[in-house]
Amino acid sequence: MNRPRYLGPAMLAVAALSLGGAAIAAQPAPVAKSISGGGITLTSSTLNLPEEKSAFPEGAAGELITNNCTACHSAEMILNQPLLGADKWKAEIDKMRGTYHAQIAPADDAALVAALTGLQTPRP
């Protein structure tokens, strides 16, 4: 994930906690900053996103998908797709690489398509 544009004290504290694992990190008290006008007050905000819980099945195919696809999005995006077939999965790989510059080596395409189609158990 890229460095967030607004890296404030609260986030740095979180980073320190998760990196150092120190139980007693000196966390600066949050500063509740707000501005008001015309009867409306807006207060500075932060967002702590929850931990991702979804993952691909263990094994080589799952690892290949994880390594090539989850830099930009979590696993549900793939797990929730309808049956797409090899051609459409290949088109998705081309789109992710062509438009979003996903770091997918073309040499991996065939194996990745096989892993993605293999992930989708045909439903009657």
Partner: protein, 407 residues
């Protein structure tokens, strides 16, 4: 749901899925943690999550970048969607995690006489504007397309209605002074793309941007925007799909030529055909950027697959929208559309917002019944059963049906 399995068959199938083949009985815990969106061919189940700050129970479509869907029953009884149930959709994973209201600036630049960097304090001092408007994802209900198409696999809940408070975009642009050569206005926010990927930016024609209804909102339903819905400010484009409603808006650029960026030229395009529909094998048709919404209507008081009391009138309620005009009428059917009964509509709270409706259907005999709801807009546009299809899975507004089992 067209000619699918009977309710009992479907319940059995669900029980099997839930039990994971282990022969266990469906547990109350499971019932609380999974929701079935009834997407044809599946996968149809999604976990419910309460893990996102400022949000109540939401359907988890994707954790990064967040895609959170509102359960339709959460809309029951609400014309205005509670902020903590309002759907969430971000394109890129690098979304704003912290916003300082003192240092935030909205930049207005490009073909203007006076480039500006407006603080929130300055925006709060400007003349106020308020409007009720539905925010609906271009791909809302994509998961119901047949044949299915790739993308976010939404059910019907990538939609919400709010009362938006803020300032008219026109007033902000007038303050900067639109140059004579400006033709479009491009909007982008604090979310950032992966390296070398295109910035998420959307554009409106200048006349649309200046129509006095397009606005910059700093409140929804009387409270500041949740971070996940675009704090501190977002664009509101009444009647248009939410791809234009740029969140965490921090940059407005006046363009002297039409926007040729990826998100206008390649993405969010619809066929230039009636109802944006084409045959699944069609090729080479012209496309245009997605734009106005059409009429829709939803039953919110009961869910698909509900059991109801037979031989007694069935009270139903829900919500309807006209799109770019108000709701003229809402009709209900309990026989899959052969006969229709007019619903009573609640007060009109703005033509771009939801309108509540309620109806009492005549007593249903025991058995399965297909209920349908149909909205007709003030411009005379009525929903139809014909499903549309396009490769992006955009603009779905055909009549929604649900199955109920009367016993």
């Amino acid at each position: 749901m067209a000619d699918g399995p009977t309710l009992i068959e479907r319940r059995r199938a669900l029980s099997l899925i839930a039990a994971g083949g282990a022969g266990l009985v469906t547990s109350p815990l499971w019932a609380q943690s999974l929701v079935d969106l009834h997407l044809p061919g599946g996968p149809s189940e999604r976990p419910m999550t309460t893990g996102f700050p400022g949000k109540g129970p939401m359907i988890l479509q994707r954790s990064r970048a967040p895609l959170l869907e509102m359960p339709m029953t959460a809309m029951d009884g609400y014309v205005f969607t509670p902020n903590d149930r309002f759907f969430v959709r971000w394109h890129y994973s690098d979304i704003p995690l912290e916003v300082d209201v003192q240092s935030f600036r909205l930049k207005i630049l490009g073909a203007v006489k006076r480039p500006l960097a407006l603080s929130l304090a300055e925006l709060l001092k400007m003349p106020r504007f308020e409007i009720a408007a539905i925010n609906q994802c271009s791909g809302n209900s994509r998961g119901l397309f047949e044949p299915r198409v790739p993308g976010a696999q939404w059910g019907n809940g990538a939609i919400g209605n709010a009362k938006w408070t803020g300032v008219r975009l026109k007033d902000v642009l007038d303050r900067a002074g639109v140059a004579a050569n400006a033709v479009q206005v491009r909007f982008s926010g604090l979310d950032t793309p992966p390296p070398d990927a295109p910035l998420f930016a959307k554009s409106l024609d200048l006349a649309h941007a200046m129509d006095g209804e397009v606005m910059i909102a700093f409140q929804m339903n009387g409270a500041q925007l949740p971070m996940l819905n675009g704090f501190p400010i977002r664009l509101v484009v009444p009647g248009w799909y939410s791809t234009y409603w740029v969140k965490a808006l921090d940059r407005i650029e006046l363009l002297d030529a039409p926007d040729t960026g990826y998100w206008m030229e390649k993405a969010y395009r619809i066929p230039a055909t009636p109802r944006a529909s084409v045959a699944p094998d069609a090729k080479g048709y012209p496309t245009v950027p997605i734009n106005k919404m059409g009429p829709r209507s939803f039953i919110t008081s009961i869910a698909d697959g509900a059991r109801v009391v037979a031989n007694a009138p069935l009270k139903l309620r829900g919500l309807a929208m006209g799109g770019v005009s108000g709701v003229a009428r809402v009709d209900l059917s309990s026989d899959g559309g052969k006969t229709w009964l007019a619903a009573a509509t609640g007060p009109d709270q703005g033509k771009y917002g939801f309108r509540a409706w309620e109806a009492a259907l005549p007593a249903l005999p025991p058995g399965d019944h297909k209920l349908a709801v149909r909205c007709t807009s003030d411009t005379g546009e009525a929903q139809t059963f014909d499903p549309i299809w396009n490769p992006g899975g955009f603009m779905r507004n055909s009549i929604d049906t649900i199955m109920v089992g009367a016993a």
